[in-house]
Structures are given as structure tokens and as C-alpha cells.
Symmetry: C2
């Protein structure tokens, strides 16, 4: 069995055996198989796919390439949420304290931003002092004491995924359903959780723009998780425009503060409550979604989620004075308004391009080595369906690196489509709920 | 323009522009683009193909990644032959001196064996002292003085091809028509030749087993060469069994001696004369193929080709005493006969597996670092259509490393299919001749 033979087998559309997948992953981790052979296999998988059994095998081998967190000492459900990545998606920052405040353990291992999507870790690290590099024993202790802890992937967790993910990003092999399943589920199962809520985004800012492809991904994720007896549901939500108004790091953190204090944009609040209610339901804390939402809403409105958030920041060495007094934070060096050039209605927003431009502004990374400007970001003043008049601001840009120039401003403006009439049908924020039995009605959580 | 964007574009089946191909190849050579990105692009090309224009562009950029030999000081046609690789193919060793003896310059840059096919360089280097690593000025001088010189690819010639070819071999991306075209033609055009005869093999020992795929490759090669005004024809010949009786290095060199002296196996002689006649025709030395064959046949029979071969060996520092007295050569330490276990007729031979077993016996390389045992090889005593009796030798194995064991003997025996009747139709050695106008009758060269 050689690397070339295995690549060729997948290239020719055949099914790899467990021992072939196992050999390939392990020989890759020891350096016996080179990056260039792994990337060739990834591209062959992109074209030829993987069977359900292959996907399950890949996921298990990737999970077992590192440590699986052991929670046997801690009774009670451990539940996490994973998002397939969007623009302006600050939900994790709100959801972890909110669900912990409701009495469910949330051991959350998150990623960094790369490409057009931001990352929870970068957002958290924009809080001065906030430490996302905790060792697993400390992570376990904080989950036990506080109910939630948010860290980054460690050396010990899923080394196979960490190395393969970096390659996929550089070789245009991200959009492969079996590879996405293996990557997400191996990492999440290594957290040792009992249940998982997936937020699969749909629309031009999502990994899959097309609703059919996003639903296919959600179905594969839920079925693969079921093969491991991991209780999992997937909520499909709209990503045809940024979520909320803020896109960046510190700006998104501040918007999360608003939601944690009972305010903030309605779309962010609604997605967070829906995902949180699903987490409570999977943890057995509520019978149906509406009662889950009813249970969570007061925790936002009465300050309990906010207090839990402060607890988490403090435990993870963040300076809470910046959280309590955000005006203390360094102001961005540059601010620039992008104004509408015509009257009309916003009929579409290119969320992917907004995300990419935000990255270029300094809020993200072109390569893993790039440093992030935490003050960089955008405020989206007009969303789909909004009336807009010539000269009104569409977006405020802010950053502390190179000031955005006219060309950049034009690029931001052209992310907005302004029509003479409002769009025929506003897209629904929450689009579908999937579990292992298939799609379900979403009316109960709207 | 980033590597990922270009990979993605090809992944999605789009046509790459000249500047994209140029950027990718040059950034790869400078190290800005990594091996793992190149291998992902190669696999994407494997699946999505390349248009004719892309193939021509790729070929030109690869050719121009290094030196193109300049022959402007030397009047007269420079013509080479390239084979797509087969088992027992020692034709180059005979063809170069034969065609040079007929007055045509043959500047031949050859490759090493890898996988199941042998390489002209390894065969030549089995002659003690023979130097295939000559610098280009010396190569030019010997072609001018002797009419032919056989060397390996130097640092100066097609560095892009050298690096990409090694990757393709390790990543199962060899069998891609645009990549094969780019690789063969860039190297051959870097020789600065005026015309090229391609020997495309067909059958289970060839790069493409299927006659249709082999003909498609031949057509693409001839058309791509025509875009550079390189006069090129392709001769499709049978590779459903090894060519001649000897497979290995020194054993093949000895078989080449026999043909150069007017003897040797009929199939080797016939393919060599056909290819040689095509070279003479492209060089303008003969009007039709039959008269080309008529011109070459006496050069084998009267010793002129043999004398030219001795001249070449001497000029390239080979010890001609081993060529004149092959019995001086070290004898292989082990010899073993593989005998037939039943009466009947040979109806099929697995040439690819014969080649692979020969490599394992020591005659080839599993990886580029492996050392070759020049004494290792096989003599095939029974070919397709031959009558065989139980106990008669099918093959003689020889080597100087580990002696071949019973399992190895069984593996060699199972390369032969013995039927009770002779095969219905013997396959034709010379199958088709293609030029830029399409397929032509082969009757005139049989």
C-alpha cells in the first residue's frame, strides 16, 4: 500500500478501506506522506466524494489523531454549537454565556478567521488580556466552575484536522462535503460533548451559496454525527447579508455586549435564541423550542447572560474594564463613510465581498501569519429591504492601518445593489431545521 | 491573483489565461507556490483537462523555464524520437546510432526508469564509464562531430518539467493528456530540434492501455507540436507484451547490440526501422517510408550502425571493451527459470506487471533514490501466440541482490495466460501512423 496507490484509487472513484484511510492519515502525521500527496488526495476527494462509511471512518480517525476530552467526572450534558462560518457572525460570544447561564455546560473550542469569514478566537482576543490558549485541564476546570469556556484548538486536539485544514484552505479544497464533515465533527467530538447544534449558513456569504448544497451539507453532518451517537441538529440560517450591523473584531464584540444586555440587532438576537433553545432541548432542559426561547429570553433581558460573560472574561484573564467601559478601547485611526449614490431600496448585499474587504481593511488574515488590526471593521447601516436616499451612509469603515482609499470605498459601495422597489420577498432569517429524521418545520422557533 | 484562486478556477472547469499559467509555473519555481499547491492544481487538471490553447501555453512556458539548445551554427536537420514508455523498449539505443549513420543529427535527451518502465539513461549507464551527464556545450560538440549524443536532462533544460514530473509520479497525476503533452514537448523542444517522431505505446504495458486513449494522446501531441511548427508524427505500436526478449538494463543493452549487428528479435528491429524511416522522412532524406526502411536496413546489416554506436560509447567515456566483449561483464549472482505448468499457447502477457516485477528484481527504482542493479532482468522465452509445453521455461530471471523466491516466481508465471488454442488474432506490432492531418495507412511501413 503506497500513497500513490491510494490517491489513484480515490482518483478513479473507488471506495477507500478503513486501513487505507488510517494509513494515509497516520503516515501524513509522521511525515512519511508529504503535503503534496495529501493535497492531491484532497482534490481527488473533492471530485470523487466519499461514501457515508468512508466519511464516518475519516471522521473517527481524525478525532482519534489526538486527545478526546474526558468529562466523566462531571455529570450533566455538555453541549456545543458550531457555525459553518459567516460574515458578522458573533453568535458564539453571546450563546456560550447565555446557555451556561441556563445551566448547560458549554465547552467551546473555536477557530480563527481566514479568508472572508471572521473567527471567534480573534474576536475574543480583541479583549485585552483574553487568553484562548488554555491547556485542557484548565479548560475543564473553567467549564466545571463557570459553565462555559472558549479556547482555541490545542496541539493535543485533532492534529490531523489542524494540518489538513490549513492545506485545504491553500488548495481550494474546502468546499467538499465529506471533508467538511470530517473536519467539523472530529474537532467537536474531541471536545467530548453529548450533543451539538450546527448552524449551517445559506447565501452568498456562506461556504455554500446555494440552499440545496447547504441542506445537503447539513444532512450529511447530522447523519455522520448520528453514526457516533452524538445528538445533533442543524439550523439553516440566512447569510445573504452580514448578520447584525458590525463586521470585524472589536466592533462585533461590542455588538455582542448589546445583545447580552438585552438589546442589539434583532437578527443576531433571534439566531442566538433559536440556537440556544436547540441546545437546551438537546440537553434535556426543555421540551420544545418555544419554551427554550422563553427560558432564555429573560436571561438576556435581566443581565444574567451578561454577568456570565463577565465571569468568563475574568476567568480567562481578560481585562473586564474594557468590557464594562468599551469607550476605554483605543479608537480606530481612520473612519470613513461610504454613502449611497442613488435613492432606492437595498435589494442585495454581497456578504462574501463585504467579508473579504473587511479582511483587507485589517480585520482578518490573507495568510495564517498576518497580524489582525482589532479596531478594523465596518458598520452596515442599511440592510436588505431598507429604504436609502442619495448621500445617506451605507457603511462606516474604520481601521488603524492604511486609511481606506477611494478605490476601496467604491468596492464597498458596489457590494450593495440599490433597486427602485423593495425586494419582492425578504429572505427568512431562519430557513430550516434538520435532524437525523430529516427537515422539520421552523414555525415553532420563529 | 493567488495560487488558491487559480487552483479554484481550474477546479471549477474554467480556462486559465496565459498570465495565470505563467504566474503559477514561475512562482512554483521560485518557491512562492508550494509543492502541495502545484499537486492540487495537477489533480484539478487531471479531472478538468485543458483546452488546446492552455496546453500550448503550458508547453511554451515549461520549455522557456530553461535553456533551449541553439543549433544555428550547424546546418542540417536535427531530429529526435520520444517513446511514451514501455517494457523492454531499448529502441533509442539502436535508433540514435542508426539514424546518425544515415546522416541525420540526433540530439537525444532521455529519462530514467521509474515505476514499471525502464529508462534509456539507466540502460546506457550499465555500460561501465558511460557518462550521460554532459554539459550542453559538450553535448552540442558530440552531436556535431559524431551525429548523435545521448544525455540526461540537465539543470539548464526544462526545470519546470523536471520538478512537476516528480510530483506527478508521486500523486497519481501522470495520466493526463495536457500534462503529458506539456512534459514531453517542452523537453523535446528545448533540444532545439527541427522534427520529432513520437512512439506512442498501446496496450497493458503502456501509459494508456486503451487504443482509443493512446490515439487521443497521439493526436494531441501532434497538434500541440504543430502549434510550434515542429514537424511531428506519431507511430502507435503494440505494448500488450514486452518488446523483444530482454527486460532490464544490461540485458537490454546486449539485445540492442544484436540488433545493431543485424540480428536480434524481429519486433525490436521492425519498430526501430519504422521509427528511423520516419525520422529520415521528416529530415527530408527520403520521400517515402519504404525507401527510408530500405536505406536503413543495410546500415544494420553491414555494421555501420554498430560502428556509430561504438563511436558514441567511446565519445561518452564508456568502456568499449564491454561492448565488444559482453562476456567480460559481471555475471548476475542469481539465475532462476520460471517454467510453464501446463501445455498450451500463450494468449496474453501482463507487460505492466512484468515491468513492475523487473523493477522489484533490482532493475528499476521504487523511489528516485533507489540504486539500480544493472545485472538484474528477465529474458522472455515465450511471446503471445507461441506454443508452450509443461516444464518449458517461460522466463529466465537474473539478479545480484536478494535471490528471487518461490512467491516471486509464481508472480512472474501468473503474468502469462496459457490457453488451449492460439489467440484468435495476433495483435499488429505497428498499429497506426498519425500526423497533423489525422491517421494514415500503415501498410507502407509494414
Amino acid at each position: 500500500m503506497t500513497a500513490r496507490e491510494i490517491i489513484q484509487k480515490k482518483r478513479d472513484g473507488k471506495t477507500l478501506t478503513e486501513s487505507e484511510i488510517n494509513f494515509f492519515i497516520h503516515a501524513y502525521l509522521t511525515g512519511e506522506i508529504a503535503d503534496y500527496q495529501m493535497s492531491a488526495l484532497l482534490m481527488a476527494i473533492y471530485f470523487q466524494g466519499m461514501s457515508f462509511d468512508e466519511t464516518v471512518t475519516l471522521t473517527r480517525i481524525m478525532r482519534d489523531s489526538g486527545e478526546v476530552v474526558d468529562w466523566s467526572h462531571l455529570p450533566g450534558a455538555k453541549v456545543d454549537k458550531h457555525s459553518t462560518g459567516g460574515v458578522g457572525d458573533k453568535v458564539s460570544l453571546i450563546l456560550a454565556p447565555l446557555v451556561a447561564a441556563a445551566g448547560v455546560y458549554v465547552p467551546m473550542i473555536s477557530g480563527r478567521g481566514l479568508g472572508h469569514t471572521g473567527g471567534t478566537l480573534d474576536k475574543l482576543e480583541s479583549i485585552p488580556g483574553f487568553n484562548t490558549r488554555l491547556p485542557i485541564p484548565r479548560f475543564k476546570k473553567l467549564v466545571e466552575e463557570i459553565g462555559a469556556c472558549l479556547i482555541g484548538q490545542t496541539e493535543a486536539i485533532c492534529p490531523a484536522d489542524r494540518r489538513i485544514y490549513a492545506l485545504r484552505d491553500a488548495t481550494a479544497t474546502v468546499q467538499s462535503i465529506p471533508l467538511i464533515c470530517g473536519s467539523i465533527l472530529s474537532k467537536k467530538m474531541a471536545e467530548g460533548i453529548d450533543a451539538l447544534v450546527l448552524n449551517v449558513k445559506v447565501g452568498n456569504g456562506a461556504i455554500f451559496e446555494d440552499a440545496g448544497a447547504a441542506e445537503k451539507l447539513a444532512t450529511h453532518l447530522v447523519r455522520t454525527a448520528a453514526a457516533f451517537n452524538l445528538r445533533t441538529v442543524a439550523l439553516l440560517t440566512d447569510m445573504s447579508q452580514p448578520l447584525g450591523a458590525a463586521v470585524g473584531n472589536w466592533v462585533e464584540v461590542c455588538e455582542a455586549f448589546d445583545v447580552l444586555k438585552g438589546g442589539g440587532p434583532q437578527d443576531v438576537r433571534q439566531v442566538t435564541l433559536a440556537l440556544g433553545a436547540l441546545m437546551l432541548q438537546l440537553a434535556g432542559k426543555t421540551k420544545d423550542l418555544q419554551s427554550g426561547v422563553n427560558q432564555l429570553r429573560p436571561l438576556l433581558d435581566d443581565g444574567a447572560a451578561w454577568q456570565k460573560f463577565l465571569e468568563i472574561v475574568k476567568a480567562q484573564q481578560g481585562d473586564t474594564s474594557f468590557v464594562e467601559y468599551p469607550e476605554k478601547y483605543p479608537a480606530p485611526k481612520h473612519r470613513r463613510e461610504v454613502k449611497a449614490e442613488a435613492d432606492g431600496y437595498v435589494t442585495a448585499i454581497n456578504a462574501r465581498e463585504i467579508g473579504r474587504l473587511c479582511m483587507l481593511l485589517g480585520a482578518g488574515r490573507k495568510t495564517v501569519e498576518d497580524k489582525v488590526d482589532y479596531t478594523a471593521g465596518m458598520f452596515i447601516h442599511k440592510k436588505i429591504g431598507d429604504r436609502v436616499r442619495r448621500g445617506e451612509p451605507l457603511v462606516t469603515l474604520q481601521s488603524s492601518g492604511q486609511p481606506p482609499d477611494d478605490e476601496f470605498e467604491r468596492a464597498v459601495r458596489s457590494c450593495f445593489t440599490i433597486g427602485t422597489r423593495p425586494p419582492a420577498t425578504a429572505s427568512r432569517l431562519i430557513q430550516k431545521l434538520l435532524d437525523v429524521n430529516g427537515a422539520r418545520s421552523v414555525s415553532e422557533i420563529e
